[in-house]
């Protein structure tokens, strides 16, 4: 078993499938009266969040608690980081407190990789800069598999700001490992040149959403990052929505079985119309529930045995 989960590329097909299978068993626990398992009793999981996040942090916290681990939440605001403490010194502090796993979100790409060299415990990347977010990719893969029954051979369109999206990067890596075919869709300014070849051979790029829809099993809409709206990647929000937003008429051009995903938080009316977000094809709420099961599986597989 792997020791850290830093990138979607850390997982080969067998390990990824094992995580998804374990997550399916963990999901059964969420439906029980006693939503708790003793597997990680006495282990400590630190949530180290240098960036705001609600769903990911709460999801990891719920996952660790359902496995009976002790959880310490550490957010940069109001901590010694605000006083200028470096990542390394913070890491050594956590090390001294006996953290068995550190779940880290950081605005700098690569921060979890550095952290992995400094601590003895396992490091889980919960999103680093514009780089990767592997547990999001795992929960997306889990959601696709449970809705559509398989991953191999699925056509997945990832639509939007691929340039800044860690979700897109991890998904391309993981989904191609698991045999799905990914097409990146968006304005040319938001899809880096040669990204498809650099991440995973076999990944396609298309600048026209309407051309991709009829042959897609899954459409994954990425959040338009409003903070980048003024950086001239596209002329206006309305134009973006018209060309790359998923509205009702576009949704109806999808095959009967196709699903619509979004990692959240959504900009309703921008990349996704409310009519689509609330439709039965949308898996957005399911993705949140699946996130807890998948993170339980990851924590169990990293911490459950003596993998040191």
């Amino acid at each position: 078993m792997i020791r850290h989960l830093l990138s979607g590329a850390d997982l080969d097909a067998d390990t990824a499938t094992q995580i998804l299978d374990t997550a399916a068993e963990m999901a059964a626990v969420s439906g029980r009266e006693v939503k708790k398992l003793p597997a990680l009793r006495g282990r400590t999981v630190v949530n180290l969040f240098y960036e705001d996040s609600t769903r990911t942090r709460i999801s990891f916290e719920a996952a660790a608690k359902r496995l009976s681990a002790d959880v310490i939440n550490f957010s940069a605001k109001g901590s010694s980081v605000a006083k200028g403490e470096s990542l390394k010194d913070t890491a050594l502090t956590l090390q001294a407190m006996g953290a068995d796993a550190v779940v880290v979100r950081h605005p700098a790409s690569g921060a979890p990789h550095r952290l992995a060299d400094w601590v003895d415990g396992s490091v889980v990347n919960a999103g680093d800069g514009t780089h990767e977010h592997p547990t999001q990719a795992l929960l997306d893969a889990y959601t696709m598999r449970s809705r559509l029954g398989r991953l191999a051979g699925l056509s997945v369109a990832v639509v939007g700001d691929v340039l800044h999206s860690r979700v897109a990067r991890s998904n391309v890596l993981l989904l191609s490992t698991l045999g799905a075919k990914v097409t990146l869709v968006g304005p040319p300014t938001l899809i880096p040149l040669d990204i498809a070849a650099a991440l995973a051979p076999g990944t396609d790029v298309c600048y026209d959403l309407d051309a991709v829809l009829p042959s897609s099993d899954v459409v994954m809409m990425l959040r338009v990052q409003r903070e980048r709206m003024n950086d001239s990647y596209f002329p206006s929000a309305r134009e973006y929505a018209r060309r790359y937003g998923l509205d009702g008429p576009r949704m109806r051009r999808l095959p009967e079985h196709a699903i619509v995903m979004h990692p959240g938080p959504m900009n309703r009316g921008m990349e996704i119309a409310p009519e689509v977000a609330d439709s039965p094809r949308s898996t957005i709420v399911e993705q949140v529930a699946n996130g807890v099961s998948v993170r339980m599986a990851v924590l169990y597989l990293l911490l459950g045995g003596n993998n040191r």
Binding site: D21, T22, E25, R32, E33, L37, A39, Y300, N306
Partner: protein, 194 residues
């Protein structure tokens, strides 16, 4: 054995193997336990059979089949995976988690009969009791095993025993079943088979 000095240089001895139960014996033993369950539970009303993977699961299904053949009673069968409740998780590489399937009626207020192949230290049964406590509140819990080989480390005993086998700690008992291994047999190995 006659030439201990020569034995040292020759390849390691095959461990001694003894067949304790043949395929026909296993069938008879399962039949008897099915009868005993019917007798002790007065007709197996409100009873659920839960097999502990790997080989407890097919044994539980067989017991239910026999009970239904003898008295035409359908006893619900389930599978109880105890991996996440084990007390030795940290001593091994991470173990794969298997499915737990409870009968649709659940286990609340039922008489649960846990089914496993070998009863040894009793730790598996302790883990199963912990798991049951998180899944519901059975009226009572009983234990059926194909083989009891002794050496308990916890105050646990079986209600239904297929065969008691006195063993030494260094020996090991291996149960094979048609569903999981291709054939029914119980063997006693002189030392742990590699």
């Amino acid at each position: 054995m006659a030439y201990p000095s020569a034995a040292r240089s020759s390849p390691p001895r095959q461990p001694s193997v003894k067949v304790i139960l043949t395929s026909a014996d296993v069938q008879r033993v399962v039949d008897r336990i099915a009868h005993q369950i019917l007798e002790k539970t007065q007709g197996a009303a409100d009873t659920v059979l839960l097999g502990i993977p790997t080989r407890g699961a097919p044994l539980a299904r067989r017991l239910a089949d026999r009970i239904s053949a003898f008295e035409n009673i359908a006893v619900p069968v389930g599978v109880l995976d105890i991996t996440l409740y084990r007390d030795d998780l940290r001593r091994h590489a991470t173990r794969a988690v298997g499915p737990t399937q409870l009968p649709s009626g659940g286990i609340d207020g039922m008489r649960v009969v846990l089914v496993d192949d070998v009863l040894f230290s009793g730790r598996t049964v302790r883990a199963a009791l912990d798991a049951l406590g998180d899944l519901g509140r059975p009226a009572s819990v009983q234990l059926a095993v194909l083989v009891d080989r002794g050496h308990r480390q916890l105050p646990i005993r079986a209600d239904y025993v297929g065969k008691n086998i006195p063993t030494a700690l260094a020996e090991s008992v291996k149960v094979t079943l048609a569903e999981t291994d291709g054939a029914d047999e119980v063997r006693l190995y002189g030392e742990t088979p590699r």
